[in-house]
């Protein structure tokens, strides 16, 4: 059994490595900026969805307030750059760390709640974060913060017109989140978290520290979400509460995982690869003609998947749904 699992995990790692190699080189043939933009956003949300998967999938704690960690990450890295001159190449990690810290702060009171109550609490936290930043003058309030245009460089993480470096940056982000999820899956932590997800009472009787498990999962998830938010802010070049902290980001971060498969390694990536291009392209090409067609498509797809494949799309590939109950 041990052998089988080790072999399976090695295979997963090899597949991921091959996919990464393809993803590094294949986009070099693409010249179309719209296509590159869609790929970049899809990858970014694949990483964010994977980050959400760590707490929402493996640990089973449904968070609908991830926009706060996302927004914190982008605000912290942007403000450090604009106010203190700290290059974003360092700032994004501090942004991530603050995202993780925020997740701990939210978790401290909220993990005492169970089931749906935790999810509801995170919605409220999301709204509080949004209002706080909207009314806080030091962080630009409703006016937002501009990221000044700097010389394209790896230190500034600005690449001017060149899209490929951005793509590789978010690719590295996806790879990091995937690797984190992969490590968690095989670790003692991962098993403990899945036990927490399946049955809290049983897990406790086995000696799993429930609260610490949730906090750890939340912190890792918050870190990667903040990191993603920081990269997003840099990519867009301007942040305000509406564009990084609004509630729809919480949904957009969770949705690819739910669609692709909760608590699976490939679900978030699959979900994002399907959902984000659909969202971007339908709004670009259908948005002008009929109002809300893109949103209808979006909703219809989720309903179909929820009815036909509640385990997520990843189960179509005959994969095991290890980690899922």
């Amino acid at each position: 059994m041990e052998n089988f699992i080790t072999r399976r995990r090695r295979k997963e790692l090899i597949v991921a490595g091959l996919l990464l190699a393809v993803a590094v080189f294949a986009p070099m043939a693409i010249r179309d900026v719209t296509a590159l933009n869609v790929i970049i956003l899809s990858l970014l949300f694949a990483g964010l969805a994977q980050a959400w998967n760590i707490i929402g999938g493996y640990c089973g704690q449904i968070s609908l307030g991830h926009a706060v960690y996302f927004g914190m990450g982008s605000y912290v890295s942007t403000l450090l750059y604009v106010q203190a001159g700290l290059p974003p190449s360092a700032g994004i990690f501090i942004g991530g760390a603050v995202g993780g810290l925020a997740a701990l702060l939210v978790g401290w009171p909220c993990f005492r709640l169970s089931g749906h109550y935790y999810a509801i609490a995170t919605v409220v936290v999301g709204e509080i974060g949004y209002l706080l930043f909207l009314n806080w003058d030091y962080v630009g309030g409703a006016t937002g913060v501009y990221i000044p245009i700097a010389k394209p460089s790896l230190i500034n993480l600005q690449f001017g017109k060149d899209k490929l470096p951005y793509l590789h940056l978010v690719l590295a982000f996806v790879a990091a989140t995937w690797l984190a999820a992969w490590l968690i899956e095989g670790s003692r932590w991962g098993y403990a978290w899945r036990a927490v997800k399946d049955d809290v009472v049983a897990a406790r009787s086995l000696g799993v520290n429930i609260f610490a498990s949730k906090m750890a999962a939340s912190a890792i998830s918050g870190f990667f979400t903040g990191l993603g938010g920081a990269i997003y802010g840099l990519y867009v070049g301007y942040i305000d509460p509406d564009s990084v902290m609004a509630g729809h980001f919480s949904i957009l971060i969770a949705l690819p995982t739910v669609l692709g498969g909760v608590g699976t390694l490939w679900g978030p990536i699959l979900g994002a690869a399907l959902l984000i291009p659909l969202k971007e392209l339908s709004s670009s090409y259908l948005g002008g003609s009929g109002r809300g067609v893109d949103l209808m498509l979006y909703g219809a797809m989720i309903i179909v998947v929820a009815l036909a494949r509640p385990q997520g799309l990843v189960s179509l590939f005959g994969g095991r749904k290890h980690g899922a109950p």
């Binding site: 719209t34 909207l134 006016t143 501009y146 000044p148 867009v236 070049g237 301007y238 564009s243 809300g292």
Partner: protein, 413 residues
């Protein structure tokens, strides 16, 4: 190829005569929210740009505005302006991506936009990187032109200029009537618009030596504003300065009316107060309210082109021009004039021509002194007007030489 559906060039007429064209079209990208929140404004903007393109491209009797003689860009062999519209959905990320697409795929030599300041912020960063001019027709955040951008040009006023106009009016009306306002009350919603507006108002009130009797920030789209109305009544300032969108504007007037309070003067930062829905919703309560505006539909004595252009716009979109659509039409005319003067569709030449722009107000449909950009790309000659509601319509009351009606000033009486 699907994008073709979105390309609204010179209208069906021009499409028919395309074969006859000698010069290449000059492509200009236009980014607005065409769906989602802000779509109503965006669709009006689209109509406004189409009308402006018609004025530039079509053959018609000369209109008394820049590029008003029609027939395309004469210095470019009669080349036509071709507009390509893109939908920003009022999302800064989307606006950025669409501007990039317009420049790289549709080969737009300039971008015009974009209603909200957040989308203007990201579009202007793209245009800076790609080195094509961005003409801001209606983004009003003062911070936009203070970022040292080389390719940013704003034809319309920003909020500080608007607010300065309001305080200039207060000073002028005091001189004229001998009844100066002795205090103001600030009342503003909590998003970027209200926050920025109130910040400037506070500063200018202090500069004018006007005490702020009430400083009330409220949550936009509140279900009730009765507490706020009570506070305003208690403060009873001479002039109420609201910065509100439509539903809040109606709500506060109703709330004040319910407690039997009518401010001596209301001087609004446009927005909701200038919407037609406000006039319908507030009805008689709006009577006598004043609002700043960058456009005066009734200034036709000074600007004879207004009725002509308004006629074209009304035929196209079945409503009168307003504060926004007039600025949008003006932005495209200013840009086309610059391209024509440049005699070239190269972004660098267009930029040089924009910098050299010195258009007298009489060449526009606006009550402005003219169009001339400072080193930050801001038009410094776009002074606003103050309008007052008479029988459910806004009439221009200031500057006094433009006034269609005498101002009704109840302060101090």
């Amino acid at each position: 190829m699907k994008r073709r559906q979105f390309i609204i060039g010179t209208g069906a007429l021009a499409a028919a005569s395309r074969a006859a064209q000698a010069a290449d079209d000059v492509v200009i990208g236009v980014v607005y929210p065409l769906t989602g929140n802000g779509a109503a404004v965006g669709l009006d903007a689209k109509a406004a740009y189409e009308v402006a393109a018609k004025i530039i491209n079509d053959t018609h009797a000369p209109i008394g505005v820049a590029m008003g003689k029609g027939g395309g860009l004469d210095k470019l062999g009669g080349a036509k302006i071709k507009l390509v519209f893109a939908d920003s959905q009022n999302d800064p990320q989307k606006a950025r991506a669409e501007a990039e697409r317009l420049i790289t795929q549709d080969k737009a030599v300039a971008i015009v936009g974009s209603y909200t300041s957040a989308t203007g912020a990201t579009i202007s960063q793209v245009t800076e990187r790609y080195e094509v001019p961005y003409i801001s027709a209606d983004n009003s955040s003062p911070s936009l032109n203070q970022r040292g951008l080389k390719w940013f040009f704003r034809t319309g006023p920003h909020d500080e200029m608007f607010t300065k106009g309001m305080f200039d009016f207060l000073a002028d009306v005091a001189k004229k009537t001998g009844k100066p306002a002795k205090s103001v009350a600030l009342f503003y919603e909590d998003s970027i618009f209200g926050t920025d507006s109130s910040n400037v108002q506070r500063k200018l009130a202090a500069a004018a030596g006007l005490p702020v009797a009430a400083d009330i920030r409220y949550r936009a789209s509140s279900p009730s504003l009765s507490t706020e109305a009570q506070k305003l009544k208690a403060a009873n300032a001479d002039v109420l300065l609201p910065s509100s969108y439509t539903s809040d504007a109606i709500l506060i007037l109703k709330a004040m009316n319910e407690i039997g309070y009518k401010p001596k003067a209301i001087l609004a930062q446009a927005a909701g107060f200038q919407e037609s829905a406000f006039m319908q919703g507030a009805g008689a309560l709006a009577e006598g309210a004043m609002s700043r505006s960058s456009f005066a539909l009734d200034a036709d004595k000074l600007r004879p082109a207004i009725p002509v252009v308004n006629g074209l716009y009304k035929a196209h979109n079945n409503k009168d021009m307003n504060d926004n659509t007039s600025r949008e039409i003006t932005a495209l005319l200013v840009l086309a004039d610059a391209i024509n003067r440049a005699g070239s569709a190269k972004p660098d030449d267009i930029r040089k021509a924009l910098i050299a722009t010195d258009m007298p107000g009489s060449q526009t449909i606006m009550p402005w002194a003219g169009v001339k950009f400072d080193e930050t790309g801001q038009n410094t000659m776009c002074n606003p007007v103050i309008q007052q509601v008479f029988d459910g319509t806004y009439k221009t009351v200031w500057p006094f030489d433009l006034a269609a009606k005498d101002v009704v000033w109840n302060v101090g009486s």
